[in-house]
Point group: C2
Chain length 341, copies 2
């Protein structure tokens, strides 16, 4: 995403890789809808998007009334936070913005726009740090497997899991990448492959069901994924299919790495099982694009995230540092540590 000419510009990820089209948003309702409709997706990216959305809301509410802007702006912030339920970055960004409001006694727009830009820049810096720290864990040259898209498209830029992969590939530690296609939205096929090809990193797609077979053949040394929320005990909520990969990685002795900024860590969530899991429309399973694929009368169950228990995670890599074999004490220590903002 980018801020240009007083508007938020989003690449419409639903159209990739067929078309590169941008959407120019000037209103907070448009921003909430874009998050809900998955014009933009990826936990860090929707957090940043929400922060820019808050700035747009502030501009409008202050223009409507220079005295009574706080209440309608609070309503807008709630709208943004509710656009999708699972990724914590959305409410994290909204909380960060909300925390500034009491100190503002004039136009909130410039303050909130500055904050959105800061959140955006900090996310990119965090990703680069995550990339370096994650690459340090990889003994190469090897092949890695990733799931969904945790790349530049899912973040402010560079990427979390793909940041690690980019950094490790630059150092010659990653030979090639397996990308699960990631039904139902095919973020692996559409987005991850698109990003890696642009960087010249060899990528092979595979059906989500083929990942265990790849591990059994010894073709994968690390699974590297992002996260939509990390609980205080190290449980990881991420794209549906992540949990099965973690079970299979452990079964095969393959490393399982989660790369995410600390904005994804929710210390108020004591365990993953308490996280709300978004259930999306069954049409995403029953149809493919415009075309119905399932038999008439079939129903579908479409949870789009799952919970990977901390016990199956070898490393959580954040911009503050790496947590090996995560648990509640280690996560608390990570989050309590002094860290330059």
């Amino acid at each position: 995403m980018a801020w240009a000419e007083e508007a938020l510009v989003l690449l419409d990820q639903r159209l990739l890789p067929d078309r590169v089209e941008h959407m120019r948003l000037t209103d907070v309702a448009q921003v909430a809808q874009a998050i809900s409709d998955m014009v933009v997706r990826g936990a860090p990216a929707i957090g940043i998007t929400a922060a820019y959305g808050a700035a747009l809301a502030a501009r409008k509410r202050y223009a409507e009334s220079t005295v009574a802007w706080r209440e309608p702006l609070e309503h807008d912030l709630q709208l943004l936070a509710a656009a999708r339920p699972t990724a914590v970055n959305l409410s994290w960004a909204v909380e960060r913005v909300r925390g500034l409001l009491s100190a503002i006694d004039s136009d909130p727009y410039p303050v909130l726009l500055d904050e959105a830009r800061r959140i955006h820049e900090q996310d990119i810096a965090a990703n680069q740090r995550i990339g370096a720290l994650g690459a340090d864990l990889i003994k190469g040259p090897c092949n890695v497997l990733t799931h969904c898209n945790a790349g530049a498209l899912a973040t402010g830029g560079y990427g979390t899991a793909l940041g690690v992969i980019r950094s490790a590939h630059e150092q010659g530690l990653v030979k090639s990448v397996f990308a699960g296609e990631t039904r139902p939205w095919l973020q692996g096929a559409r987005l991850t492959a698109w990003e890696l090809i642009q960087d010249g990193i060899p990528v092979r797609l595979l059906a989500d069901g083929a990942t265990s077979h790849a591990m059994a053949e010894g073709q994968v040394q690390w699974v590297v994924v992002g996260a939509d929320r990390i609980a205080g005990n190290g449980d990881v909520i991420n794209k549906i299919g992540t949990y099965g990969l973690a079970i299979s990685a452990r079964h095969h002795g393959v490393g399982f790495m989660v790369a995410a900024p600390t904005s994804t860590v929710d210390m108020a969530l004591s365990q993953g099982a308490d996280c709300p899991i978004e259930i999306r429309d069954e049409a995403e399973i029953l149809s493919f694009g415009e075309r119905r694929v399932a038999a008439d009368g079939a129903q579908a169950w479409n949870p789009v995230f799952d919970v990977t228990p901390a016990a199956l995670v070898d490393a959580i890599v954040t911009e503050r540092g790496v947590v090996l074999a995560p648990d509640a004490a280690k996560m608390a220590a990570l989050m309590a540590a002094d860290f330059p903002a």
Copy 2:
């Protein structure tokens, strides 16, 4: 499939559930192509189809020459056996036909057509027996999960995994079925849902990546699948994704049942790792129908079967009986047992 008016009639499974269209085949080359192109799929079904194909070949070769039909017929049998590499039922059916040829001294067509019909009828009877034996293992009422299609469409009729599910549902032991959509061909969404809806059995589709999440939530008590080949030690070769389900089932204490006729058991294959695994065109992953979904330049890896080690299998259910916790000795005992043909 059916034999009608001196031809093999196949339901074109590629068009389901959109259209119910039949293909009338009168020539062995057409039959081999239909198997290769997946007009018909499912290990028992392609075995039966090959047997009818052999009858068509015999008719043609004997018509061409009443004295020199053996050599061209042998060539046709090899063509059939090579149409797809993984399911052993194809070579099993061809071997069964081939075994009759030396005793034939006149027109081989009626003998081979009788044999194809016998193979077909025996498969249906085997499925019904498998259904009854498999249902006996299920403590209901519960939910089961299946993968790909091991139903009437994949067999001579009734089905292996779906035979067990049909039989258990009739007895009130199965409340509802989860069906993995089974990328890349979506046999779960297109075929299994289609069959179960016709029988009034509640079915919910889910992305292949969502199956572990369903197990974690306690929603699944048994995984029931078919097989394309079972090795002499009980290793199971089946549709890609089966192996991951087995790992996950064991992780969650969910039962894992393989339902298959003994025509699927290959005692000459000592272990699953020695089985040829068909790798199909990467276009099946890169595109969806006519529409390209992956980024330009992306490659794909498309193995369509995987190997589930016997150690992860709780029960192999055949028409000859049930093998619990299969191993080489138990499989040998099963196959050596007297059994009325």
